[in-house]
Amino acid sequence: MTQSLDYLKETASQTAGPYVHIGLAPGAAGFDIYRQELGWDIAGPNARGERIRVEGIVIDGTGSPVKDVLLEAWQANADGIYAHPEGGGEVEEGFRGWGRVITDFATGEWAFDTVKPGRTRGRNVGTQAPHINLWIVARGINIGLNTRLYFEDEAEANAADPVLNLIEWERRRATLIAKRTERDGQTVYRFDIRLQGEEETVFFDI
């Protein structure tokens, strides 16, 4: 017999199920209950930097849109600071860097407005390219999927990013790069997420 280690085990994940909106976005489920729902304003009114829209769709293994997904975004501000005690500094009043996004039940399209994040501190040396961390839950997803969105117009920073460079299959890195477009004078980044198939998005065990 050896001594036993007295660690606890992490509570196992279970799917968020089809009715995740009741808990996390009750307005979308069809009723009004809280004074304010959380996660609707990622950057707040005082955030510096470029205002952007991010939009996309989540596609399943049959090529169909996933219409009941919920995404959470976590990002740094334009200076590369996270709104957290270990985030690297102070952020603008009202900048939270966290948001919750649900898909349109009819089309599966989702979108959120924020500011483009700056480069963040690297794990060991250097910096990470600007990116938004995404977490995806839905019916049929047994444990939340972690991925990262990078920006097409940051080619130089992306080429040096330690996480993108960790992906051995270079052509798979492209699944993490959002495409930049302009629409009605606004910058829009398109980021489609493929759960399966030839162009399956890279997901991380973080």
Partner: protein, 242 residues
């Protein structure tokens, strides 16, 4: 001098795998390539913070938070309480816990739920709270009913409450479900059984807690939640470096 470092890696043999043919919806929604293992950076050791401005005192009382004045929802009145801990056994204070559930008849207040059991006019089915300095939380609600779902022809979900917990880092983010001690539907549920380890399933079953009941009012269940623990770096692992 020790500095907190990164979070313990997730035990992917303990969590359910993405793909499980008996939970049919997972078949086309499970990544087929392996996850890319990432050591924590600042992006993972940070995460959103919440305060008492974000929630109202009544938000954790599902018996009252949607009921008409003077009325209350139908069902067994219960208290669900416990602590949010990390794998080191330390409390996780000031973290947001959100819950959602069906009513006592097994029906959700959701425009996509068409089960024939009735909506309860006095029950919304969601709540939220922030753990106290000891990681403690509680909700008051009614016990949810079992409900049928389309998977195999005759599948029924055991009574359950969905929970969403943040912790202090995006790496700790977790959604799970809580079941009730003694429910015979737990053993045959394909969603429960996406988890392979019996001990991991046991950790999702709340125990009847008669010490926490309110006599002549509400019965209680205790449900502790464990989030990922964090390393103390006895040796520099260069996470903080730049």
């Amino acid at each position: 001098m020790t500095k907190p470092g990164e979070y313990y890696q997730r035990d992917r043999m303990w969590h359910p795998p993405a793909y499980d043919k008996d939970y049919k919806t997972s078949v086309t929604r499970s990544p087929q390539y392996s996850l890319i293992s990432l050591q924590n950076s600042i992006s993972e050791i940070t995460g959103p913070t919440f305060g008492h401005n974000d929630v109202d005192p009544l938000d954790n009382d599902l018996i009252k938070n949607y009921a008409q004045p003077g009325q209350s929802p139908i069902g067994e009145r219960i208290i669900v309480h416990g602590r949010v801990l990390d794998e080191n056994g330390r409390p996780v204070p000031n973290t947001l816990v959100e819950v959602w559930q069906a009513n006592a008849g097994g029906r959700y207040r959701h425009k996509k739920d068409t089960y024939l059991a009735p909506i309860d006019p006095n029950f919304g089915g969601c709540g939220r709270t922030i753990t106290d300095e000891n990681g403690y939380y509680f909700f008051r609600t009614v016990k949810p009913g079992a409900y049928p779902w389309r998977n195999w022809v005759n599948d029924w979900r055991p009574a359950h409450i969905h929970l969403s917990i943040f912790g202090h880092a995006f790496a700790q983010r977790l959604i799970t479900q809580m079941y009730f001690e003694g429910d015979p539907l737990i053993a045959t549920c394909p969603i429960v059984n996406t988890i392979r380890d019996k001990a991991a399933i046991g950790q999702l079953i709340a125990a009847l807690d008669k010490n926490a009941t309110i006599p002549l009012d509400s019965i209680a269940y205790k449900f502790d939640i464990v989030l990922r623990g964090r390393r103390s770096t006895m040796f520099e692992n260069r996470l903080e470096g730049n």
